[in-house]
Amino acid sequence: MVSVYFGDMHGVIYNPARYFKNTYTDEWIVDDFCKEMIKDVDKSEVIGPRIIDSPVLGGITPRELSGGVKTLICMYKCPDKVFNASACGDNCAKWILEIGKRKDIMINLRHIMDFGSGEFNIKVLNTDQVVNNMEELIPIAGQFVR
C-alpha cells in the first residue's frame, strides 16, 4: 500500500536523483520491473546495466535517466526510505500505485499528484484516512499542500 505524507516532512530524501546516483547498482537497472518503468516514463530501452537507449539523448548511462524514473526506482528498491515524490510527474503516478501493490511504501508529496481517474488505495498519513479516488484525495491533500 502507498502511504503519503503531504507537506514538509522531516527525514525525507528531498533529492532522490542524487540518492540514486550514489546508491544504484547494476542489478537495479536490469530488474524487469525497473526496465518496464524506464520504458514507459523515459521511453528508453535498457540495453545493459550500464547502457540505455534514449530516443532523445541517444546512448545514456543510468545517471542520465529522468528524475522521475530515478525516484520510482529508489521507492521500489529502498522501501524503508521516504522519498520526495514531487520529483515525479503525473506520468509516474500509476507506477507509484503499482509499487504500492507490491510493497508497502511511504512517500512525501509537496503538491497534489494526479493519480488518474481510476480507483486506488492511498493512506493519507496527515489525517490517518484511506482515500480511494482523486475526488476524495484532493480536498484532503489541498489542506496541506498547494
Binding site: K43, V69, G89, R110, R146
Partner: protein, 320 residues
C-alpha cells in the same frame, strides 16, 4: 530587469526555444520532458562557454543557482536570467522569496510545488512539450483554463456565490455590484483561502475572482478541485486594478501600451509582481482626481452606474 527575453539553448541533440516575460517563470509537468537537461545545458554553457558544445542565445546572461551556497551565488548575480532546478530545498523558503523580491534578475524555476511566498502569474507556468527531437515551452495551464487565449470562461447565468480574493477595494466593488441581485459575494481574505472557500460552498454555482498575476502558487490545487465541474468558474484577470485600467473609465488617461506591453514597463527590482505594478499605476494615474484610487477602501465613484458598467464590460462571457 524588464522586458521580454528570447532564449535559445541547443546542443547536437536537443534545442529549446522560448520567451521569458516576467520576473518569475515556473516550469513543471511530466517527468522525462527535459527540464533538468535544460538547466544542465545552461550551466555547462556558463562554465565553459562555446567549448561546452552548448549554444545559448539570449540578450541577458543565463545562470544556474543551486546548492547550499545559493545565497552567496545569488548575491553576485545581477541583470541575469537565473535558472534553478527542482532539487533545491530552499525554493519554498521565505529567505529565497526575499532574495527574489528586490532583485533585478529574472528567475526560471523548475518545481511542482506551489511556492506560496512568490507571487507568480498563472500565465507564466509552463511545461516543456517535445516535438521530435526539438523542444519548446508551452503553457501548461492553457489547456485547462477557459480564461486565456481562445477559451475564455463562460457563465451564462448569475452565480449563486462569488468568491473574491480581495478583502478591500476589489471585494467592495463586486459586493456593491451584487446589491439588489440574488447572489452573495464573499471575500476569501487572501488567495490561500480560496481553496477552502470553494469546498465550503461546493454544490453551489460559484464564480471565483482572483488576481491571476499572483495566483500561480494556488492555481494547481484550485484547478484540480474545479476541474470537470461546470458549476465553478475561475476568472483570473491580472488583478482588479487591471480590470479598472482596461475599462473605458479613463479612456484618454491611460497609456494603452502599458497594458499591451506590460513587461516593458515593469522593473523587477521595483515590483514583485505585475499586480503591484498595476495597483501603483492606477494610484498614480488617478491621484488628486475625483477617481483617486485606494487599494484599502474603494472610492464610491467606481460604483457609479457608468463606471460600474464600464468595468464589468471588461469581463466577457460572464453575467454578474
Amino acid at each position: 530587469m524588464r522586458g521580454s527575453h528570447h532564449i535559445i539553448v541547443s546542443n547536437s541533440t536537443v534545442k529549446y526555444e522560448f520567451d521569458i516575460k516576467r520576473n518569475i517563470t515556473i516550469i513543471k509537468g511530466n517527468s522525462a520532458t527535459g527540464k533538468t537537461t535544460l538547466v544542465e545545458m545552461i550551466n555547462e554553457h556558463y562554465e565553459s562557454g562555446d567549448e561546452s558544445g552548448v549554444t545559448v542565445s539570449c540578450d541577458k546572461e543565463c545562470r544556474v543557482v543551486a546548492g547550499r551556497e545559493w545565497k552567496l551565488l545569488l548575491s553576485n548575480i545581477n541583470d541575469s536570467i537565473v535558472f534553478i532546478d527542482e532539487d533545491n530545498d530552499f525554493l519554498p523558503s521565505v529567505e529565497f522569496a526575499e532574495a527574489v523580491k528586490c532583485s533585478d534578475n529574472y528567475y526560471v524555476i523548475v518545481t511542482r510545488e506551489g511556492l506560496s511566498n512568490l507571487p507568480y502569474s498563472v500565465d507564466e507556468i509552463y511545461g516543456i512539450k517535445s516535438s521530435g527531437k526539438f523542444s519548446s515551452l508551452k503553457q501548461v495551464y492553457h489547456e485547462f483554463y477557459h480564461i486565456y487565449g481562445d477559451n475564455p470562461p463562460i457563465m451564462d447565468s448569475h452565480p449563486e456565490t462569488v468568491i473574491v480574493e480581495d478583502s478591500n477595494s476589489g471585494y467592495e466593488f463586486f459586493n456593491g455590484v451584487s446589491e439588489g441581485k440574488d447572489y452573495k459575494v464573499i471575500s476569501a481574505k487572501g488567495k490561500s483561502n480560496i481553496f477552502k472557500e470553494i469546498i465550503a460552498h461546493r454544490g453551489e454555482k460559484i464564480l471565483v475572482i482572483a488576481d491571476g498575476a499572483a495566483f500561480g502558487s494556488e492555481v494547481d490545487r484550485v484547478m484540480k478541485l474545479v476541474s470537470g465541474n461546470n458549476r465553478i468558474i475561475l476568472l483570473l484577470p491580472e488583478s482588479f486594478e487591471w480590470l479598472v485600467l482596461s475599462s473605458n473609465v479613463f479612456s484618454k488617461k491611460i497609456n494603452s501600451d502599458i497594458l499591451n506591453h506590460t513587461s516593458e514597463y515593469v522593473e523587477s527590482a521595483e515590483f514583485f509582481s505585475w499586480e503591484r505594478f498595476f495597483t501603483q499605476y492606477l494610484i498614480d494615474t488617478t491621484k488628486n482626481s475625483y477617481l483617486a484610487y485606494s487599494k484599502h477602501r474603494l472610492n464610491p465613484v467606481y460604483l457609479h452606474d457608468v463606471n460600474r458598467k464600464a468595468i464589468l464590460n471588461t469581463i466577457k462571457h460572464i453575467s454578474i
